[in-house]
Symmetry: C2
């Protein structure tokens, strides 16, 4: 059951996306940061996402027929949220379906948020002082800001120290940068258009930064790095232990992550031709340990019963205090946490998927080194965290790697023949998370791996097609499957998936599946009651829902109810960057979610053992 | 007309005060920090200040007869605000007239303010974390504070960094210090009673600090220093010029004043046996230049037309940032300013005298190196500043000194004979401000100095009593008057008042009198319309109103309408320390006062020249 990928061209920008079969035009656009108006969140009720498909449009769905006029249908208008891609298409987004400059939005997974960033930059012409207007410089500036609707602001003494000289050098026509209620910078105007922020998703294994233009709400560059803390431990518990046994260990881990974030800032700024000093605010989502190491909060109590964090609240701290090299008086907002092992990344997933506002019973799975799982509706949300391990981010997998150029990101079995796809179609270097899921699913489907996770030995390959059988080899005392022959790889050596790799996947998916089972129990629902399953993760490419089902990463639900939502935690960070009001909602979400502590559940281990099996192939 | 001083013993504390003849029991008590209930502000309308005078009480005033019962009068009850001291007295303050612990107050000049300090210290017993209560440490603490009515607080990340270890060491029963909305310290309980603040009056010439127990609202120690910045200029303009021509000059002046404030903190803490780390907040009043040098704000534009300050707002800054050695996370609140030459000291005077709430037309004169003058009612307040010079603080006067041990603070002419009083009755060292005013008044009265300010030459002393005539001597080419003979002084040399000293007094009082005249003009009132004249200044001892009238420091009004209110600016700083709500009122006052720029008034110089004359003696 190879999945087809279609080419969709979005006009008027002419951007080409490769869209998995069956995804909607709106979903695909969102995933790529193409902004289509969707106030209802893509539920087919507002008709805001009208698009035109000039050539050979798909037949209108029932919702399209209800929401659009006959004349519109005749002119090949369709709703982007209702129209699924089953072939190559050209889609024209008309003016009225684009998001205007006044409220260009960044996409959440589940809809758009208004552009109301916490950072505002504006040029204020002030009257020069005179004997009849002797107002102090700072008060004059605050009055000027209040006249432009920015009332009730403050200026720190440190800013005022430079203010008199600055104002006079600028002839009292400064560009002013405000973060929250604080005036943080007074600059030469003309730079007033350059107002940027960066949204970070700080994962245990992978760091991603989205540089955003806060004037437009658009992502202007993305950069990522492996989390260099990984050298001191694969997972959060190992890192906490490292801090416990090493003097200055926590300081070192802090410095490492900040160093990598600074590289991300540099790279993203270089790509977008933005000065780091024009980046005024960073937002951060990350698990509790990542959050605490970044903020230099003590981590020891996180890992020790009763597992208590130092602070679960949101914080806004000085970028300089953390060592982050954006504007020196810039701020870093860290989103609130739920519990010691359910962090701000989960809050980001909830915000991005809108689970806190939805009546539909949904399950969201954020696949990282920890697997965070959220279940519920706006009435009640449960969350837990499982130690899935970093397998899906490439660690502990023999040829594992991050989603980067040369990573095998898709593996298909077409007519018994293996078809690989690599990122940027470069010679293969290794296997990223989506490739790993695909490969395991393909080997299960082909019978190379059985539901217990055992890989056929090379002597036992007789039942397989010869093209597959020849790929089973012995490797360093264990069995392996040659995914890429030596002529397909950059190194000239074959790339294998080994028996041990399969076991890592089993551990990871078993932990997640067991966590899901416990949450469903606690909620009092059965998997069949799920109205939607959302797969999230910083994979850099699409997880294909049917593959996640095939390996049992998610409970058996109909395929149409499974949706891959990309890096939803990162989407949450972006939404928090462009909309300050969402921060209060984040506080409410973080406080409202019920945390289920799996380690306290006597049934967890048994369920874990059960869940390590793969579903029987062909189910 | 020598003034008599009476001994008044206040029971039950047994404190003895030396009270100038005619002062009320309430005024004298306020001046010494003895708290008598006076919600009406001492206007005789609330009968709250009932006291008992067991032995030979003064006859009841009309107001006493109206407000008290016949039985009370018979039991020797009197109203403290209505009963003037004309002889030695013993006064018993009954329980109901004392201010209870719930709302112990500090005295403003004009009344009491409730004890609602910005700093709060409280011990919070918290539930220890458990698997069924996994709240993060910081959130647990905030929840506990909210339960005690301290809601909506914040904890800075820097405090949280130490919190987990601290809470566990204290078995989750910490004493918590809150400043404004910020938790700044988590400490061992048992120290929870020790919660102090310090109120500073930062004058151009004199620095005063009042260490206060914020649990009781009482001043527990006072310390003062000469402002060491004076080495770089007598007045603010000279210091601003110094900063302009010297690299790091502003930094040096900052360091000097902070060094002296730290000495004041040390001395006051030593006197009261308080640890500096238990002093959590400082409040500061001072003129605009003193404020800016303390905050390290640029001062150059203050002295350059159009005379604009960097900031006139109140600020709350980190004590550590300023280098003030109180609690390292303590805060320094600087009161708001009116204009470049009318500072927070003036705001303090207004708050302390209640001019912003009064319907009576009053004039307040704050005598310092700058003379600040306020005129008006709650409907309209005008203020100006005059460059009076530091004569009344001892500078530019040959034998001038601060009010300290050995300073001649009172000079009387009794039957043609000079009677001196020195502080602590020590051998005379020099002459402080009140002594200077007294001495000039005495010499005017005796005819030694004529209304033009000319001192009789020794050859021209024939008309004087021989006991005075012999005191006129030549001194370094000018005429001088021997105030203290060599056997009365510590040095063994006589202490003189010279012709030049008289000229300094004329300049100072002339500047103030001219400022008063301009304000009255601007207000459209004549001196006769004044209902009260308030004399303020950090004199350390009483100015006697009749002497201020005698030298023409204040306009000719009936003696009963002149009142010395002590260091009203310092009172304002104390009130701001013990009552956080007053800070908003201070903002309103600072914004509401109309500043009159004397340098822009064409009539000022002529009035100044006029006002340098002394009133004719015996008027």
């Amino acid at each position: 059951m190879a999945e087809k990928i279609h080419r969709v061209v979005y006009e008027p920008d002419g951007r080409t996306l490769f869209v998995p079969d069956g995804q909607t035009i709106l979903e695909a656009a969102r995933g790529a940061g193409i902004h289509i108006n969707s106030p209802c969140g893509g539920t087919g009720t507002c008709a805001g996402c009208r698009v035109v498909i000039p050539e050979d449009p798909p037949p209108p769905t029932e919702t399209c027929l209800r929401e659009l006029t006959g004349e519109e249908i005749r002119r090949n208008v369709r709703l982007a949220c209702q129209t699924r891609v089953h072939k190559d298409l050209r889609v024209v987004i008309p003016e009225e379906s684009r998001l205007g400059d006044q409220m260009i939005l960044t996409e959440g997974v589940e809809g758009a948020v208004a552009l109301e960033p916490n950072v505002r930059k504006t040029t204020i012409p002030l009257p020069a002082p005179s004997v009849s207007d002797q107002r102090a410089d700072a008060d004059r500036l605050l009055d000027g800001l209040a006249e432009q609707g920015l009332a009730d602001l403050r200026i720190d003494v440190k800013v005022i120290r430079e203010l008199p000289e600055r104002l006079r050098a600028l002839d009292f026509r400064p560009a002013v940068v405000v973060i929250g209620r604080d005036v943080i910078s007074v600059e030469r105007p003309g730079t007033s258009d350059a107002c940027h922020g960066i949204a970070f998703d700080i994962g245990t294994t992978t760091l991603v930064g989205y540089l955003m233009d806060l004037g437009s709400g658009k992502v202007v560059a993305v950069a990522s790095r492996a989390n260099p803390q990984a050298a001191y431990g694969d997972d959060v518990v190992a890192r906490i232990e490292y801090c416990g046994r090493t003097e200055d260990g926590a300081r070192r881990l802090h410095d490492l992550v900040v160093g990598a974030l600074n590289e991300i800032v540099s790279e993203a700024c270089r790509k977008a031709a933005v000065k780091p000093s024009a980046v005024y605010e960073a937002t951060v989502v990350g698990n509790t340990t990542m959050n605490h190491l970044l903020l230099r909060l003590p981590v020891a109590p996180i890992a020790r019963a009763p597992f208590v964090a130092a602070s679960a609240s949101a914080h806004s701290v000085s970028a300089r205090d953390l060592g982050l090299r954006i504007h020196p008086r810039g701020r870093v907002y860290t989103a609130p946490l739920v519990a010691s092992f359910v962090g701000a990344d989960t809050v980001g997933v909830i915000l991005a998927t809108g689970m806190h506002t939805s009546d539909r019973l949904r399950l969201a799975i954020d696949i990282g080194t920890n697997g965070e799982i959220v279940l519920g509706t706006r009435e009640r949300l449960l969350a837990c965290s499982t130690a899935a391990g970093p397998a899906f981010e490439g660690a502990r997998i023999r040829y594992g790697m991050r989603a980067a150029t040369g990573a095998i990101d898709h593996v298909d079995l077409v007519d018994g023949r293996l078809v690989l796809h690599t990122i940027d179609e470069a010679p293969a270097i290794g296997l990223c998370g989506t490739g790993l899921i695909d490969a395991v699913a393909a080997l299960l489907e082909a019978g190379v791996v059985d539901p217990s996770g055992r890989m056929r030995a090379s002597g036992d390959a007789g039942a397989l097609a010869p093209s597959l059988a020849r790929r089973i080899v012995g490797a360093d005392g264990e069995t392996g499957f040659v995914l890429a022959d030596k002529d397909e790889t950059r190194s000239g050596h074959p790339i294998l998936l080994t028996q041990r790799d399969i076991r890592e996947v089993q551990l990871a998916k078993g932990a997640m599946a067991a966590g899901i089972a416990v949450l469903l129990d606690e909620y009092g629902a059965r998997a069949a009651a799920l109205e939607e399953v959302l797969l999230a993760g910083a994979f850099g490419n699409f997880i294909r829902p049917e593959r996640a089902l095939a390996i049992g990463l998610i409970p058996p639900v109909p395929l149409g109810e499974v949706r891959f939502v990309g890096n939803a935690a990162g989407s949450g960070a972006r939404m928090l960057l462009v909309n300050r009001n969402l921060r209060r909602i984040a506080d409410d979400v973080a406080r409202g979610v019920e945390h289920v502590e799996l380690s306290l559940r006597p049934d967890f281990q048994a369920r874990f053992a059960e869940a390590m099996f793969f579903p029987a192939a062909g189910r």
